[in-house]
């Protein structure tokens, strides 16, 4: 090996070492705020930690906390609620975002203004949004009832957030309103990225608006849609604020999803071990979708 090659290797090693050194702060922070809490959550989930029988006294119970959830007669309701919330919110946000992206992706007057307007809900803190909607949907003095009755659409006031019929549509409506701009921005950039020539060629071949949408727009948007839907599922699985502000999981457990359940179990019932197990279950489902998402992103890359 020549002297030059040895020197080069030394320099390369030094640079690599310096590079790794530069990463230390980032990895330290990640280890502190991600890896450690994750490890601790899994560890705690294997213990019985009940604050009322001694502050932070731990007793190892293995997978008993997980078995407990499986045996909970309400477990099916919590899971079904989670499914309704995640599926409803994702589908709702997607439909609104896609419709707007298709409309505002075209050359229309004041396009920038309309696009800016569509992003406003996203700029508001979610807690504020939910509180405002709670007032709008109030069954006794909410403005929605007032307007609908005045317009002759309703005969009498509806309890939007307590009626078994309207509870989920109302919650999902709020979530769709608050969250659709994220999907909208991404879909809009996807729509704008589709070459105009494809549409022109389609029109020359005699394709109508429907055919252009089904044969050109949708297939070309599919990678974006797949990534967005997966991301939306992950976001809504762990979403807490909207539900908590609107209903706190009520009436009864009618709108309790896994996310508020983790909070209530840990910090209202003081069952930290069981709460951690619920958190790990939620995280595992979320992780499954995260893996799918990452595979999708890598595949697209």
């Amino acid at each position: 090996m020549s002297v030059t090659a040895t020197r080069r290797r030394r320099v390369w090693r030094r640079e690599s070492l310096l590079g790794y050194l530069g990463l230390v702060p980032v990895f330290s922070v990640l280890a502190m705020v991600v890896a450690w809490p994750l490890y601790d959550a899994v560890r705690i989930s294997l213990f019985d930690i009940y604050l009322l029988t001694g502050f932070l006294k731990e007793t190892f119970v293995g997978v008993q906390n997980y078995v407990r959830f499986a045996r909970d007669p309400n477990a099916a309701t919590y899971l079904l609620n989670t499914l309704i919330y995640v599926a409803g919110s994702t589908a709702g946000q997607f439909l609104v975002a896609l419709t707007l992206a298709l409309i505002l992706g075209r050359r229309i007057a004041f396009a920038a203004f309309w696009r800016g307007l569509a992003i406003i809900p996203w700029a508001m803190p979610i807690t504020v949004t939910a509180m405002v909607w709670k007032w709008i949907l109030n069954g006794q003095w909410g403005i929605l009832n007032y307007l609908l009755v005045r317009a002759g659409i309703l005969d009498e006031y509806v309890s939007w957030l307590s009626s078994p019929t309207w509870l989920w549509p109302s919650i999902i409506l709020v979530n769709v309103w608050a969250g659709f701009p994220f999907m909208f921005i991404n879909l809009l950039s996807g729509v704008q990225g589709i070459p105009r020539e494809l549409y022109e060629a389609g029109r020359i071949d005699g394709a109508g608006a429907g055919a252009l949408f089904w044969r050109i727009t949708l297939p070309l948007l599919r990678p974006v849609i797949a990534a967005l839907v997966l991301l939306s599922v992950i976001i809504h699985l762990r979403e807490f604020a909207t539900l908590w502000v609107l209903t706190s999981g009520g009436p009864g457990i009618r709108s309790t999803t896994l996310s508020p359940l983790v909070y209530v179990t840990s910090f209202r019932y003081f069952r930290l071990g069981y709460g951690a197990a619920l958190g790990v279950i939620l995280m595992s489902v979320s992780l499954l979708f995260t893996i799918l998402y990452l595979r999708r992103v890598r595949f697209e890359a």
């Binding site: 050194l21 502050f55 069954g139 006794q140 006031y157 957030l161 009520g250 009436p251 209202r268």
Partner: protein
């Protein structure tokens, strides 16, 4: 890359900067507790104008008089107070003073995170407070008072006096549950509304706002499953079911704030609440809170209860955190906060003092003469009817959840009151037992 880097910064300087930064961080980390030792801290849940103003004012007074021991207060809402205090506890840096109400005391005592202030301040301090607060109720455990009383509250039905007048019912004639149900029916018919307010949107509020039915029928609380009192419990559930037609459906989406708003906006005419209600809503509902329109009446009694109207009481309070530093200075702060002047200045509920007069209170309190009629009514209630203490029980939130789910099933007609009792009996005593109750 190395060349580019060396153009900007030498390797030695880079290492020196990284190490220097780390050293500064470490030194900063060490310096903080030293500073913290000099100040006293509190975490409270004050939200109403009156209480926020009070804490700010007394803090200024304390800090001016004690520049060497400043008091730094943190104020968050009721939603997060429990968790925040526990988080500080877990982090090993509890505040000197926590904050809460009687509903917290048993659980915090059970966790071993609070001290009995009387152990530090002595009998003379305890003697400042009304006897009924220091000898009974959920804040007295094993004969000791475990809280720093700030506000006493007498509970009753805050009612629309003008609505009752319209249907020819004397407010104080509502003495039994049958009379309450009859009155609600009359008002509902006359006003074409559902006048009985009850927050049924979550377990905590539903549990707290129906607790008086249990006290009013010979039971201690929702977790009282003494077999000899089965009929008492069932009667409570049946009475609530009888009242259901007069409770709006929207109550099922209502929390405590909505409950208060329902009365303030004229949607509900009868709500169970403490006498702190005046101070809570007076700033936004001045026109409503007058003697002509509103009256606080004692709770009517069940057939197995005290046999006459009653009131119950609880407290809002600071807690002396057991594992906090600077006990000696904390004791001084507690002594200061509970001075007669400061307690009279607190403008919600009524003063927890041994003796106080309405004249004295309106002179000190935020809303002055506007509150006189209310305080007179409160004093009249407190002196005329039995004052039953709120009795604490462990695992309260979890018990309330079980109770709440069953109550909704009774309301929906999916369960009879007796079946709900039997089902709860299987669950609730097990919960309290597991928590050491």
């Amino acid at each position: 890359m190395s060349q580019a880097m060396s153009g900007l910064i030498t390797r030695r300087r880079f290492h020196a900067t990284v190490l220097g930064g780390a050293a500064a961080l470490a030194a900063g980390g060490r310096a903080r507790p030293a500073r913290a030792a000099d100040k006293l801290t509190s975490v409270a849940a004050m939200v109403a104008e009156a209480e926020v103003a009070w804490e700010k004012e007394v803090q200024q007074k304390w800090n001016q008089a004690n520049p060497d021991t400043p008091w730094e207060r943190e104020n968050i809402g009721w939603e997060g107070i429990f968790e925040k205090v526990l988080a500080y506890e877990k982090a090993g840096s509890p505040p000197n003073l926590g904050y809460g109400w009687t509903g917290f005391t048993v659980d915090w005592h059970r966790m071993g995170i609070i001290d009995a202030p009387e152990d530090h301040l002595g009998k003379a301090w305890k003697d400042r407070f009304a006897d009924y607060l220091t000898t009974s109720g959920g804040d007295v455990i094993n004969g000791k008072l475990w809280v720093v009383p700030i506000q006493a509250a007498a509970y009753g039905l805050v009612s629309r006096r003008d609505w009752l007048k319209e249907v020819g019912v004397d407010p104080y004639s509502i003495q039994t549950w049958d009379q309450l149900v009859d009155t609600m029916a009359k008002v509902a018919k006359a006003k074409r509304n559902k006048p009985f307010g009850l927050p049924l949107g979550n377990a905590r509020n539903a549990g707290e706002k129906t607790e008086w039915f249990f006290r009013g029928n010979g039971l201690q609380h929702q977790a009282d499953f003494d077999p000899a009192k089965r009929a008492n419990y069932i009667e409570v559930l049946e009475t609530l079911k009888r009242l259901r037609p007069f409770i709006p459906d929207d109550a099922l989406a209502q929390d405590y704030t909505g409950h208060r708003q329902a009365f303030a906006t004229g949607v509900a005419g009868f709500i169970s609440i403490g006498d702190y209600y005046f101070g809570e809503i007076y700033p936004t509902a001045k026109k409503l809170m007058t003697r002509e329109q509103v009256v606080i009446i004692p709770y009517p009694s069940g057939s197995r209860g005290p046999g006459k109207p009653f009131s119950n009481f609880d407290m809002n309070c600071y807690y002396m955190m057991a594992h906090a530093k600077d006990k000696e200075k904390t004791v001084k702060l507690i002594d200061f906060l509970t001075s007669r002047d400061n307690l009279l200045r607190w403008s919600l509920g009524h003063p927890p003092l041994k003796q106080w007069t309405v004249d004295e209170a309106v002179k000190h309190r935020l809303y002055g003469e506007a509150e006189r009629w209310w305080l007179e009514d409160v004093q009249a209630i407190a002196s005329k009817v039995p004052m039953l203490p709120s009795i604490g029980f462990v695992a309260k939130n979890e018990v309330q959840q079980v109770y709440y789910e069953h109550l909704l099933q009774v309301f929906d007609g999916k369960m009879t009151a007796a079946a709900a009792y039997d089902s709860m009996k299987e669950k609730i005593p097990a919960l309290t037992k597991a928590a050491g109750g």
